[in-house]
């Protein structure tokens, strides 16, 4: 399946919207600009896309506590971040304006049940695609390749560009964690300093007691976002954690639609600008991953 809605539908939708807003203007002069800014695509009867588009609203699950990806802004009471922007991109392709999206907080433990019970239409929440999860839900994407990365002091004084440069360096992580085990097994030349939480690693890096901190780049991003003056990301992930978009199991049409939307956003630059306006404040824009239509 190529693009579900062609150019013609968009043009037709825009024309209808324009006519509608003109009518609104002529009757009472009120502006309908925002609601009309999104095209109204058409979908085959009975698909999830048609249901959502005709309802005119969508419910998206995301994290509310992950800086750079999904973090609740207490003043607007809306989440902000890359996951949120990806959610808006997909909603936009369904003809739904950002203000008609209902954001629901999903934490790691309740993402599958929320999808299964239909509490959310889709989940964009730093959600790693893996085989266990594929048994209960389906994944579109990936839309981002996360992985273990390295955080260094601002300016990267030791010129660390990847895990091989950690030989003989003092590297901080958390005792008992998978990233620490990865360094111990695959990069045994690195000297590990292990605390119980990453905030202590950040403190030790700031004091010069360690040379680098390593764990999942999304966690590092959260630390950097709190203190971008002191830290920076090496931005060279050396493990693979593909982040996908969770939908109901076997909803293949919806999944393909999201994959199409993602590929379009990779191609037209809206994916990159979504990154730039969120996590891009702290980390350079990565290459978009290849969508996996399993």
């Amino acid at each position: 399946m190529k693009h579900i809605f062609g150019k013609r539908t968009i043009v037709a939708g825009a024309a209808v919207a324009l006519a509608f807003s003109l009518a609104a203007c002529s009757s009472d002069g009120a502006s309908e600009g925002d609601a009309a800014s999104v095209a109204t695509p058409e979908f085959a009867e009975g698909t999830t896309m048609a249901d959502i588009a005709s309802a005119g609203s969508i419910t998206i699950g995301t994290k509310f506590d992950q800086p750079g990806f999904g973090l609740l802004n207490p003043s607007s009471n809306e989440p902000e971040g890359f996951d949120v922007e990806i959610g808006k991109l997909i909603a936009g392709q369904l003809g739904i304006a950002p203000e008609n999206i209902t954001w629901v907080e999903t934490v790691s433990a309740n993402r599958e049940p929320f999808i299964q019970e239909g509490k959310v239409d889709l989940v964009v929440a730093t959600y790693t695609i893996n085989d266990d999860r594929k048994k209960v839900i389906s994944f579109a994407g990936p839309y981002y390749q996360a992985g273990q990365d390295i955080m260094v002091a601002k300016g990267n004084p030791l010129a660390i560009t990847g895990p091989d440069d950690l030989a003989g360096k003092n590297v901080c992580s958390v005792e008992g964690s998978t990233p620490a085990e990865n360094i111990r097994t695959n990069f045994p030349e690195a000297q590990l300093t292990l605390f119980d939480v990453y905030s202590k690693c950040a403190e030790a890096l700031k004091n010069g007691q360690v040379d680098a901190v390593t764990t999942d780049n999304v966690i590092l991003l959260g630390i950097i976002s709190q203190d971008p003056e002191s830290f920076e990301m090496v931005n060279n992930p050396f493990t693979e954690e593909p982040y996908g978009i969770g939908v109901q199991l076997e909803d293949t049409d919806f999944r393909s639609f999201i994959n199409d939307s993602l590929e379009q956003s990779f191609a037209d630059g809206s994916w990159a600008s979504a990154w730039d306006s969120t996590a891009g404040a702290f980390v350079a824009t990565p290459e978009p991953p290849a969508v996996n239509r399993y």
Binding site: C172, E175, G176, S177, T178, A180, E181, T193, L194, F195, D196, V197, K200, E203, A204, N207, G208, Q209
Partner: protein, 216 residues
């Protein structure tokens, strides 16, 4: 069981780290505590005031906070300690010292006033009477409570797992991630390692207590 047998070397190094940091911290606590106690009973007001201040501030601060200060606070004022092990021993010593001081002070108070008066009346100075007459008697009576403090200190050293000291608890944490099916066995193993230190200490303390007992 495999988790422990396969990683016996790691367990041994964790055990030695716990023992080492406890001995170093304990020695520091005993010396610092002794100094604080003599300051406390000194007739020179500023010294006893200093001792009260230290005891009250440090005794009422959680060990985790003291440890955090030793590891992350000192570097901020240019007194950083390169080794997390030494910083940890310092934290244990500094934290336990006020308790030692209070125990020794109670021992000093248990020596009857007549002893000190007699010492002063034969012409000994304050420090001589403390050193030669009062303290030797005082220390004999405080062997059991000092033993308590030592055992508490050994167990407190487990805080080191959170501050880059790979002692027994850190080893257990690491292994429990690698062997999620054997978490109970791993922590029972850790408990046995602590008991090895503390039960041996208890026996030693009982022996010392008998040796040091004085008949009054």
């Amino acid at each position: 069981m495999n988790a422990i047998v396969e990683n016996l070397d790691l367990f041994r190094s964790g055990f030695l780290t716990t023992l080492g940091i406890s001995l170093l911290g304990g020695l520091l606590a005993f010396v610092l505590g002794g100094i604080l106690a003599t300051f406390r009973v000194s007739p020179f007001r500023p010294l006893s005031g200093l001792s009260v201040l230290y005891v009250e501030i440090v005794r009422n601060t959680p060990l985790t906070v003291v440890w955090f200060f030793m590891v992350f606070g000192l570097p901020l004022v240019g007194l950083g300690i390169g080794s997390f092990f030494i910083a940890g021993a310092l934290a244990l010593g500094v934290y336990t010292a006020p308790f030692v001081a209070e125990v020794i002070r109670s021992g000093i108070n248990s020596v009857s006033l007549g002893q000190a008066e007699a010492a002063r009346s034969i012409g000994l100075t304050f420090s001589q009477s403390l050193r030669l007459v009062v303290l030797p008697q005082a220390l004999r009576t405080v062997v059991p409570p000092l033993g308590n403090l030592w055992i508490a200190l050994v167990k407190n050293s487990s805080i080191g797992a959170a501050f880059a000291v790979t002692e027994i608890t850190a080893v257990a944490t690491r292994l429990s991630n690698g062997f999620p099916a054997s978490v109970i066995q791993i922590f029972v193993g850790a408990a046995v390692a602590y008991l090895l230190i503390t039960l041996t200490s208890s026996a030693g303390i009982a022996y010392l207590e008998k040796k040091a007992a004085i008949l009054r």
